[in-house]
Symmetry: C2
Subunit: 138 residues, 2 copies
DNA sequence: CTAGTTGCAAAGAGTTTGCATGGCG
DNA sequence: CGCCATGCAAACTCTTTGCAACTAG
């Protein structure tokens, strides 16, 4: 995989790098890069290759389609992640909180957390505020 | 929803109640209940209704298909869950660990964890042992 | 009775794949 | 030049939906 750097792979990597901490569907990406001359299948094949290389992460957001997020930094590999279900933004979990959690789970339940696959779902601060305002205003 | 208790809905509920803490795909369930005379569409429609009522939880296990787990007890609504990616078994997270985690995330990152949707992925004790044995023997 | 529910088969959405062509190195 | 990657369209998988027949209450 990734033997050649084609213009399509280049465009995809650039696009992902420009959208860190977002979760994007294959459709989103294909749509955004349509102008750059990338077919849907090339998007899927490259996403699959990048996932296998561990450079992107595949997550679910409830529906049937898969979302992808760039995780090509050292940061990403070591942290647990928080995903806001409202806006799709990813946050890196405080390292100490993550260590506490992982340690507790191994100690108390002998459960070994997978740092790559685990994503905690919820609502980020901005969306909490936005929802509160929507509620008050109608 | 669930205005009538048909024999199909009855069979589905019984089957789910007999398989707590497992994550089952619609296909698994339809297969298991095929003898009971339930069509695939009835399985999907009933699962959707039960999910809406909050009696079952829909989770992802990485692939494209959805998995469902019974969560009809008070226990399930209050706890965070751990899902073993190897065997699909669900575990209830220690309550104190869960509270610590949720409190830390709100305090340190203003992130509000969704208890229903959040599932931590990893490997349970039994599967850790099994994998270790496979490694040593094969 | 009568409205919710079912089964079937067809439609949909998202993703994967086969094959000939094109382009990186 | 050789092999990998691409584009297209067909195939696939999982899920949803339309509709006539059925059934619980």
């Amino acid at each position: 995989m990734a033997a050649y750097i084609t213009k399509q792979r280049r465009a995809l990597l650039d696009y992902l790098a420009m959208h860190p901490d977002e979760s994007l569907s294959a459709g989103d990406i294909a749509g955004a890069l349509a102008g750059a001359g990338i077919s849907v299948s090339a998007v899927y094949r490259n996403l699959a290759a990048l996932e296998e290389e561990g450079r992107i992460r595949r997550v679910s957001r409830g529906g049937r389609e898969a979302y992808y997020q760039f995780s090509d930094s050292q940061d990403c590999r070591d942290h647990l992640h928080l995903l806001c279900k409202s806006c799709g933004t990813t946050y890196h979990m405080d390292e100490e909180d993550a260590e506490t959690l992982i340690r507790n789970l191994i100690r108390h339940e002998q459960f070994l957390v997978d740092r790559v696959d685990t994503v905690l779902y919820g609502t980020c601060e901005a969306c909490q505020i936005r929802k509160r305002m929507e509620k008050n205003h109608g």
